[in-house]
């Protein structure tokens, strides 16, 4: 008599992810999967797609349910015990504002993107892996909203992140990055998100935010970070698996994939410029500088990775050496422009404290005291004279990455000289911030000439009106969301709560 045996993981994976499809007979295959061919990628055998985690739906539900149970228990206790009072300082919350406004909506778009792939990829293993990642991304945005909604009761700037994400000038940086990937074909999307962003660079996003949260007493954010991190490591492994799959399917795929890697590495890196500013300047206590993170998570890791990929003929992404050279300057340049335009932002900025400046000198011995400390000293003097500096106009943004054009010629030893590039297309000029962004523009000008670049949109009259208050109203910003941190509602409330600990929980946002 046959004994029922438990199936091993590989067998279960095979049974639950293969042999589920059928050959269409009412419609030709290319009409059922219309996105598969147009990018020029050749797939000869979808069955070669292997999920390294061999994740099946039943085990997936089980793992995720356990993680959620733990996470929501922590969130409840954080809320009940007024955990928000135990963070290092109210200025730290500005990092969370950037996260909910800039990063969480990307999780939602990633959810939409992977759902699209799950439908459009013809291979069953790929469909299932994309379906699970789609659900992961949805879980991430949910847990982030639930965690941060507690802070929204007490601090400014977190009340309407999705609306802001679609409209606000600095949030067009993450939005345009994701829109670029979402409007590409499915193989470019997955190269962009799974490989260039998640595999190469996601540690540079999550580690600073989560270890930053831990160093600043924000246990709630640490917990959602950990809950997402195990998904992220699965996505990273998948991202590498996908690239190898594409490269092994056909040699003609190699140059196409290389081109996408180059483009989306640079796009992702530029987007992380915002993270660098958050990490070095917005965290009250910074556990790791941007430069240190870049060394560990890009320079050290990517070297080994691309050695491994070189057998397919794949090279390090173009301009990686520029990104490495910029590590000494990036956060200072990006935070400077935030400081100069924070009267139109959904978070507050301030001149770094003396302690923070010393930390920056220590972490950036070759650049901070020489180039950036004087800038902060000048702005501190202006503030002292009652003339807190805000730039009185609108900046020129890069046509591709949409960051105001603050980047400089550090590669040639001219860190105070901007790297401004200009291209012509059908008689009009297009300005980009670097060789990386210029190349991306010139490879697909048709795509970037239609970009909604925020200053241009304001000048065209598409953003609620002509004055800054009109535009801020259109953004759904309240009067105290942005500007200088000292004297802000957040700072005033923070001081009040710490002077009156006894009834702190009943204080409302002013």
């Amino acid at each position: 008599m046959a004994v029922k045996k438990r199936l091993n993981m590989r067998k279960r994976y095979e049974l639950l992810t293969r042999g589920l499809a059928w050959e269409p007979s009412y419609q030709p295959r290319e009409k059922v999967f219309p996105y598969e061919d147009f990018e020029g990628i050749k797939i000869t055998d979808w069955d070669k797609w292997e999920d390294p985690f061999r994740l099946t739906a039943d085990s997936y539900w089980k793992y995720q349910a356990e993680k959620d149970k733990k996470l929501y228990a922590v969130m409840d206790s954080f809320a009940q015990n007024d955990g928000f009072l135990n963070v290092s300082d109210a200025s730290y919350i500005n990092a969370l504002k950037i996260f909910i406004q800039g990063v969480s909506p990307l999780e939602y778009q990633a959810h939409r993107g992977f759902a699209h792939l799950a439908r459009q990829f013809a291979g069953e293993g790929a469909q299932i892996a994309c379906q699970m990642q789609s659900i992961d991304e949805l879980r991430h945005i949910q847990t982030q909203i639930h965690t941060i909604s507690n802070y929204n009761k007490y601090f400014t700037g977190m009340h309407d992140p999705f609306h802001m994400h679609d409209r606000v000038w600095y949030l067009s940086v993450p939005k345009s990055f994701m829109d670029d990937a979402r409007t590409a074909g499915p193989f470019e999307f997955i190269t962009s998100i799974s490989f260039s962003f998640e595999y190469l660079l996601t540690n540079l996003l999550f580690v600073p935010f989560m270890s930053g949260a831990a160093h600043n007493g924000d246990m709630s954010t640490v917990t959602f970070g950990f809950s997402a991190q195990s998904d992220e490591s699965r996505h990273m492994t998948l991202g590498l698996g996908i690239i190898k799959f594409l490269l092994e399917q056909h040699e003609d795929n190699v140059p196409i994939v290389q081109k996408w890697m180059d483009k989306h590495f640079w796009r992702s890196y530029r987007l992380l410029g915002i993270v660098s500013a958050m990490q070095d300047y917005m965290l009250t206590e910074s556990p790791l500088s941007w430069k240190e993170g870049w060394k560990i998570y890009f320079e050290d890791n990517a070297g080994a990775l691309f050695n491994d990929l070189s057998r397919y003929g794949i090279k390090m992404p173009k301009f990686h050496e520029v990104a490495t050279a910029e590590a000494d300057h990036l956060s200072h340049q990006v935070y400077s422009v935030f400081y100069a335009f924070s009267h139109a932002a959904g978070f507050q900025t301030t001149v770094p404290s003396a302690k923070k400046m010393d930390w920056l000198s220590e972490k950036y011995p070759d650049t901070f005291d020489k180039y950036y400390r004087p800038r902060w000293e000048m702005w501190a003097e202006m503030e002292k004279e009652g003339k807190r500096f805000f730039n009185g106009g609108l900046p020129l943004d890069c046509q591709v990455c949409q960051i105001p054009m603050v980047f400089t010629d550090v590669v040639n030893g001219n860190p105070m000289k901007p790297t401004h590039r200009v291209s012509e297309y059908k008689g009009d000029k297009y300005h980009t911030c670097s060789d990386g962004c210029r190349d991306i523009f010139e490879n697909e000008p048709e795509k970037y000439v239609q970009a909604l670049v925020p200053p241009q949109q304001i000048f065209q009259g598409n953003c609620g009106g002509e004055t800054i208050p009109d535009v801020l109203n259109w953004y759904h910003f309240a009067a105290d969301d942005g500007g200088e941190y000292h004297g802000s509602t957040d700072e005033k409330n923070w001081k009040k709560w710490h002077g009156e600990q006894s009834d702190s929980g009943s204080q409302e946002k002013a």
Partner: protein
């Protein structure tokens, strides 16, 4: 290189065509060796017929005037580049007559002024 599309031609939308700016054109100005204004160039929507001198008198002071070096500028010595070419603008002529077009990039160079304490900020 043309963009691959699933269906037909990729649409052409020139989002920032000059016609969309209500009679203005975009003009970009940066002040060399003064990164302390935030680090990025500024962009202004200006009528092409505006005299060049109005740029100096009416437009730039609202932004660059916040820097302590602004008052120290010796206008007899300033140098300009428009779209990469060194020029001596005719201050009474219009922007257009001086070769400033839509999305032109102007550098203002002020020899001798090196920003806050000579740090180029």
């Amino acid at each position: 290189m043309a963009i691959n599309t699933i269906n037909g031609e990729y649409p052409e939308i020139i989002r920032d065509a000059v016609e969309n700016f209500h009679g203005n054109q975009l003009v970009i100005v940066d002040w060399e060796n003064h990164r302390g204004l935030g680090g990025a160039p500024n962009m202004f929507p200006l009528p092409p017929d505006m005299p060049f001198k109005a740029l100096i008198a009416d437009v730039l002071p609202g932004v660059f005037g916040l820097h302590a070096d602004w008052e120290k500028i010796d206008w007899a010595t300033v140098e300009w580049t428009i779209d990469g070419e060194e020029v001596t603008p005719n201050l009474d002529a219009s922007l257009k007559e001086n070769g400033v077009g839509h999305k032109s990039f102007i550098w203002l160079k002020t020899p001798g002024l090196l920003g806050y304490k000579g740090t180029l900020n």
